[in-house]
């Protein structure tokens, strides 16, 4: 850390601590989930183990950083690496492990990009709301259970619910039918209704498009509100 200012050194320490905490927490979650979940949910344990601490421990300091985009990129890379290592340790084929790790990074990208759209002082609150929203979407087959039978009579509604669920993205590289896993089948009628999973490529492009779209929107807004913008400041030479 030679050459860094004290505040920069402090930040680097915090980032390293967050990365270490993410790794340790991820390992713990992975070990717990692979024991407690039955197939096919158990196959998603490495991805969930990287995603949950990535969202909760790595993203918040990145969003507070003075240069959040590189910090977000580092958080994404960290979660991706952890997911990849855990998936390989879990015995997933390399291609499926890599694609699965990519889906973790895509969820992080979407979440991080949406948080960055908020003003700096409001990002923590937005992060909390969005994490809660993602959890709600993931568990939507359960809390929407009483209405799903009726909802299935509306064309496209059930498939939309399935497509929006972040678990669908995580399950897609291994073609896991997670809605018929013991736990979901027990607590939700969704697995017994007619539904189709979107093609993995479509899902990944959708999440990638949403994430990069929000980052581009953020960059455009930044340019627009910059004092160097000649439309806002006529004194700036065009």
């Amino acid at each position: 850390m030679r050459g860094h200012t004290p505040s920069a050194r402090s930040f680097i320490r915090r980032t390293r601590t967050a990365a270490l905490a993410t790794t340790v927490t991820g390992l713990g979650i992975w070990l717990a989930l692979r024991e407690s979940l039955s197939l096919p949910l158990a196959a998603m344990a490495p991805l969930l183990a990287a995603l949950v601490p990535g969202m909760l421990l790595q993203l918040p300091p990145a969003l507070r950083h003075t240069r959040p985009l590189p910090a977000l990129a580092r958080a994404l890379a960290g979660a991706l690496a952890l997911a990849l290592v855990l998936a390989l340790l879990d015995g997933a084929p390399p291609a499926a492990a890599a694609t699965g790790a990519l889906t973790v990074a895509l969820v992080m990208l979407g979440l991080g990009a949406a948080c960055l759209l908020a003003p700096r002082q409001g990002r923590e609150a937005v992060h909390g709301l969005l994490v809660t929203g993602l959890a709600a979407l993931a568990l939507s087959p359960v809390w929407l259970a009483p209405w799903l039978d009726a909802a299935s009579r509306v064309p496209g509604l059930v498939n939309a619910l399935v497509a929006l669920n972040p678990l669908t993205l995580l399950a897609s590289p291994m073609a896991l039918d997670y809605l018929r896993a013991d736990w979901f089948y027990r607590y939700s009628p969704l697995g017994s209704l007619r539904y189709d999973y979107p093609a993995p490529a479509v899902l990944m492009l959708g999440w990638l498009g949403a994430g990069t779209g929000m980052l581009l929107a953020k960059a455009a807004r930044r340019r627009w509100t910059s004092p160097k913008n000649p439309r806002l400041n006529p004194e700036v030479p065009r």
Binding site: L39, R153, D177, A181, D182, Y185, R186, S192, L193
Partner: protein, 376 residues
């Protein structure tokens, strides 16, 4: 002139199946080839005619609902069930009856995958492959033998055993699920066993013995089940100690599926597992609902499985535990006739679970049930 008229009538009757009009023409005429012996059924002539009319109306509805690609509901599973409904109907449709049959077979064959499965999706591969085997076998066409053989191999490969890391003591051992999810259930198990039985898999094949391990563990019968069960009434649950209708309760659809699975696997009618299942049916006899299921759920699945189970068990009547004797054929036929809609279709208006909001599927199931009631 009489000769010409008689010739024309004969010609029209012969050509009717080809143009889809036969259902109306031949309703009142009984087909001696499919007429069961008098002692096989308690159905009177009038009810048999009503059943024929209902089957014909259902098939006519399905004929109009076929998609341009030859499928019904863009699903291998539904298409195969409709095809089976046609092929096993009293009219005994065949591939020669017209392009609507040939196109549905072509749709199935278009979805044969490299691994032997026959499916348009990854997540229903067992179900789709199983019903496709049964339908292709019902055509009687030897050309499909290689496809059926590969599909049999695919189904056997889905069975969970030591090779998949499931020890014999595991509650899932021997089971088959939807396909690809490695979570078995009795419903998918029964579909697979029905296909293997219909396509003449060797009775000594290990698939049957392993299947019986899972089937027996799905039965709520402590005398014959080595898994501790929360309910002990002789009926069947969806999987060991689990019912989608609550707890580990036995229910009608699954008890019929369990009874069928035992019989497909060659278990003797006097075996205590078969007797326990039959006793459960006696104790819960009804055609007004899927017994012990949440309201309306899985109703037509129950009718379909119940008809097949009762036909396979081979008793014309069921004496319930109160001593009342029921003619199950008459009861089920009258119930299904009362539920048929004006357009000839059936649908579950109470619940869409297990696709019962799809009139193509429910009509196919109802026609197959009536085919069994009728005795074809």
């Amino acid at each position: 002139m009489k000769t010409i008229t008689a010739g024309l009538i004969t010609l029209m009757l012969a050509a009717a199946p080809l143009c889809g009009l036969a259902e109306d023409v031949a309703v009142s005429g009984s087909d001696s080839a499919t007429e069961p012996a008098a002692d096989e059924t308690a159905l009177d002539t009038e009810l048999r005619s009503e059943i024929e009319r209902a089957i014909d109306a259902g098939l006519r509805y399905l004929r109009a609902a076929q998609a341009d690609d030859g499928s019904w509901s863009q699903s291998v599973g539904v298409t195969a069930l409709v095809l089976r409904a046609y092929l096993q109907s009293p009219r005994g449709s065949t591939e020669e009856d017209g392009p609507f049959i040939a196109r549905s077979i072509a749709y199935l064959l278009d979805h044969v995958q490299d691994d032997g499965s026959i499916s348009e999706t990854n997540h229903n591969r067992n179900y789709n492959t199983a019903v496709a085997i049964t339908a292709l076998k019902a055509t009687g066409n030897a050309e499909y033998t290689p496809v059926i053989a590969n599909a049999q191999g695919f189904l056997k490969g889905l069975q969970l055993d030591d090779e998949d890391g499931y020890a014999r003591s595991h509650k899932y051992y021997g089971g088959i699920g939807y396909g690809g999810d490695e979570r078995p259930d009795l419903s998918n198990m029964y579909m697979a066993l029905e296909a293997l039985k219909a396509s003449d898999v060797d009775p000594d094949d290990p698939v049957w013995e392993k299947a019986l391990v899972f089937v027996s563990r799905s039965q709520n019968n402590s005398e014959t089940n080595d898994v501790k069960v929360s309910v002990d009434d002789g009926g069947f649950a969806y999987m060991p100690n689990y019912s989608p209708h609550g707890g580990g309760e036995s229910y009608g659809g699954m008890t019929s599926a369990g009874l069928l699975s035992l019989l497909f696997a060659g278990v003797d009618k006097n075996d205590p597992r078969v007797q326990a299942a039959y006793d459960w049916i006696r104790a819960n006899y009804t055609v007004d609902a899927n017994p012990n299921a949440k309201e309306g759920q899985g109703l037509f699945y129950y009718y379909n499985a119940f008809a097949k189970a009762m036909a396979a068990y081979g008793e014309p009547t069921v004496t319930d535990t109160a001593g009342n004797t029921h003619d199950w054929r008459r009861d089920l036929a009258e119930k299904l006739l009362s539920l048929q809609r004006e357009d000839g279709s059936w649908i579950n208006s109470l619940s869409s679970r297990w696709w019962e909001g799809d009139p193509n599927l429910v009509t196919a199931w109802s026609v197959i049930a009536l085919n069994h009631v009728y005795g074809t």
